[in-house]
């Protein structure tokens, strides 16, 4: 019995971690800044490739993963400076620009690195409960997801930067009038978002096949999590991931992956229909 219970928790934690880690970066860039970043998957891919590259050079995996996230963050800030900055007032054009960027990046990676890269293997370690065996690394992913949520909360709710960032997102002109350097805030926020995307790729790199289009497997999940999370991303993303993870896990377990995927997307449609403002609107209303 306890084996079954743990197995349910493990499966939930696994889907939850996937949703949170793939959505966290997008929650900042799309949810807070309003930039529809179609190149989100490519920042994830960047994190994965840098991780594998560094591990092949002999860097230990955790350090490689941190460096990969930082790399994605720095590239993100460069992209913000060169491209995204020009589109803050034109969200639909930003969609087109970042989509174009995503196409250029995937094709360039194909040309430069080739169609497939040899994987590095998941860190050793598995444990058995009842008749089941589990990979320890998947639990590490879950704790990383929780840590990312906690870190985001602290950065944006408890620090001076967070206060200014939220003020800038709400009313840039007013924030500027009060002395906030809004340009820098945008740049850093975008960098944090892409660093989190890179972290997602870095964490999943050992468990997946690396191909230039790998980001695409994360993109649908990340967008639906952020969208049903709603306007207040810091409040909405976690409950959205919990909700979607429960539905997907239950359906996956009873009816297999196809129904799991259909069911999750169906739930998304229902939520958007019933709560156009997303889950966070309910939470905010309760809070008042």
């Amino acid at each position: 019995m306890s084996a079954e219970l743990f197995s349910v928790f493990y499966q939930f934690a696994d889907v939850f971690a996937f949703l949170i880690l793939s959505a966290a970066g997008l929650a900042i860039v799309f949810g807070m800044m309003g930039v529809i970043n179609m190149a989100h998957g490519e920042f994830i891919m960047c994190g994965a490739y840098v991780t594998v590259g560094l591990v092949n050079l002999g860097v230990p995996l955790p350090i490689a993963q941190i460096l990969a996230a930082l790399t994605a963050g720095i590239i993100g800030m460069i992209v913000e400076f060169l491209i995204v900055r020009r589109f803050y007032k034109r969200p639909l054009d930003s969609l087109l620009a970042t989509w174009g960027l995503s196409l250029i990046v995937t094709q360039s990676m194909l040309l430069i690195v080739g169609s497939a890269v040899r994987g590095i293997g998941t860190p050793e370690g598995s444990f058995a409960i009842g008749g089941y065996t589990f990979s320890t690394y998947r639990l590490v992913l879950f704790f990383c997801a929780v840590a990312v949520l906690a870190g985001l909360y602290i950065i944006f709710m408890k620090t001076r930067f967070g206060v200014i960032a939220r003020a800038t997102m709400q009313n840039a002109a007013m924030a500027k009038a009060l002395g906030a350097r809004t340009g820098r805030i945008y740049s850093i926020s975008f960098g944090i978002g892409t660093a989190l995307a890179g972290l997602c790729g870095a964490l999943y790199a050992p468990t997946m096949t690396l191909i230039p289009t790998m980001g695409a497997t994360f993109v649908v999940e990340s967008f639906v999590t952020v969208v049903i999370g709603g306007a207040n991303v810091l409040l909405g993303t976690a409950p959205a991931a919990v909700f979607l993870a429960m539905i997907r896990m239950a359906l996956n377990a009873s009816y297999g992956q196809i129904i799991g995927q259909i069911g999750m997307l169906f739930a998304v449609i229902l939520i958007i229909r019933v709560l156009p403002e997303g889950l966070s609107s309910v939470l905010v209303r309760r809070g008042r």
């Binding site: 696994d14 169609s115 497939a116």
Partner: protein, 412 residues
């Protein structure tokens, strides 16, 4: 590393150039070969060897005088794994470029998207992959292995060696569905039991739940017919969770070279039946591998698709030269005579007149903990007999249909 596309374009340019020069010299225009292979998108890692195999064959044939004295002009387009683009490019090659033969397609979905378009023309079409079998269509010649060569050998062997309970994970499209149907039929004949079947949407990369479903069902072995880079993540995740079950497949190792792409021992205990894998150690095979690697030194693995693509051009050459014509009906007369054979690196292979599928020498291979490949059993040459047995006879009637164990020709 090389880019297939740039190389392809450059090669194309070079060929067009030489063709233009050649045209002033010889009256005979070159034979146009249309090639549709994915060299970008999710299946690029499989499609790249197919392009390379075709380029190698074209180069060799052109060097030794071409086909009936005519040079070959290879026109390659990259449909990027998109079935709509397969149709668009297929029409372009057939109707605008007026190619003499069309070759290519990776997934069975792309082949079925192309086939109706080919059927409206009189152009021959070569499909160069192993697949789920059953296509009875006079316009199509199949160069790869089919279930009676792959599953009828592999599944009895797995049952005898590991046990009667199998769990299937399959990609959710026509290839996976029909292959799973083959497995059900063969397992039933053997008195075995399919304890679980899971179809995975293409692009899914997370398998924790699937791994637990497998452990719950307690199979003796797994049939893994999952497709594409995302779904291949299953092997890494299963190894990390210490699933540790014997596996069998019709597409792993020789086709997807997972043993080269994943860190050992993720593919330990995988089994497959193949007409080609790079580890074949015969003088003919070694000579072929040497020529390939000389031209493409960066190739990670010469997979069976790339090998079959290479053979397809030599088979086309044999058919055209025996028929002394590039017309499909004349080539089919050669096929009907049972005389359509070539000496391939695997040995002699022939086209079966009834089904227009190819005989193959099949071997059962296994992968060890260090990802070393061992030949477990050599079956010799196996004919593609199934379509002929159920009543497909292209020498008499063109069905233009795909049959499966549950969709047989109506008795007439």
């Amino acid at each position: 590393m090389n880019s297939g596309r740039i190389v392809g374009m450059a090669l194309l340019g070079a060929m067009l150039g030489t063709a233009a020069i050649g045209a002033t010299r010889a009256a005979e225009p070159p034979l146009k070969v249309g090639l549709l292979e994915d060299v970008s998108g999710d299946l690029a890692f499989m499609g790249m060897p197919k392009l390379h195999g075709s380029q190698l064959a074209v180069e060799e044939i052109n060097k030794s005088g071409g086909i009936l004295g005519r040079q070959i002009e290879l026109i390659h387009l990259d449909p990027q794994g998109d079935n709509a683009r397969y149709q668009e490019f297929g029409r372009r090659l057939l109707n605008r470029d007026k190619v003499d033969v069309l070759i290519g397609g990776i997934t069975s979905a792309s082949r079925e998207a192309l086939r109706p378009i080919v059927d409206r023309t009189t152009t021959p079409y070569f499909y160069t992959n192993q697949y789920e079998g059953g296509v009875c269509d006079a316009s199509m010649v199949s160069m790869g292995a089919v279930p009676e060569q792959q599953f009828s050998t592999l599944i009895p062997w797995m049952v005898e060696k590991f046990g009667k309970k199998v769990y299937v994970i399959a990609a959710d499209y026509n290839f996976g569905q029909i292959s799973a149907e083959w497995n059900r039929k063969i397992m039933k004949d053997l008195g075995g039991e399919v304890v679980g079947e899971e179809f995975i949407p293409l692009g899914v990369s997370q398998f924790a739940q699937t791994i637990q479903n497998i452990q719950k069902a307690k199979p003796d072995w797994l049939l893994t017919i999952n497709v594409g880079a995302a779904q291949d993540s299953f092997f890494e995740q299963a190894a990390a969770a210490n699933l540790n079950l014997p596996m069998g497949s019709s597409i792993k190792i020789m086709l997807g070279f997972e043993h080269k792409r994943f860190k050992p021992p993720a593919l330990n205990n995988m089994h497959a039946t193949a007409n080609w894998f790079e580890e074949i150690d015969t003088p003919e095979a070694n000579d072929f591998k040497k020529r390939w690697h000389a031209k493409f030194p960066d190739e990670l693995y010469i997979n069976d698709m790339g090998y079959n693509a290479y053979n397809a051009l030599y088979m086309y050459k044999a058919l055209v030269e025996k028929a002394k014509s590039t017309k499909l009906e004349d080539m089919r007369k050669v096929i009907a005579s049972g005389d359509a054979c070539i000496d391939a690196p695997e040995g002699k292979v022939c086209i079966d007149p009834k089904s227009q599928h190819t005989s193959h020498r099949m071997r059962l291979i296994s992968v060890g903990p260090k990802h070393e490949v061992t030949v477990e059993k050599d079956y010799g040459t196996i004919q593609p007999y199934w379509l002929g047995e159920i009543g497909c006879d292209l020498t008499k009637k063109n069905d233009k249909d795909q049959y499966t164990p549950s969709h047989l020709p109506s008795k007439s």
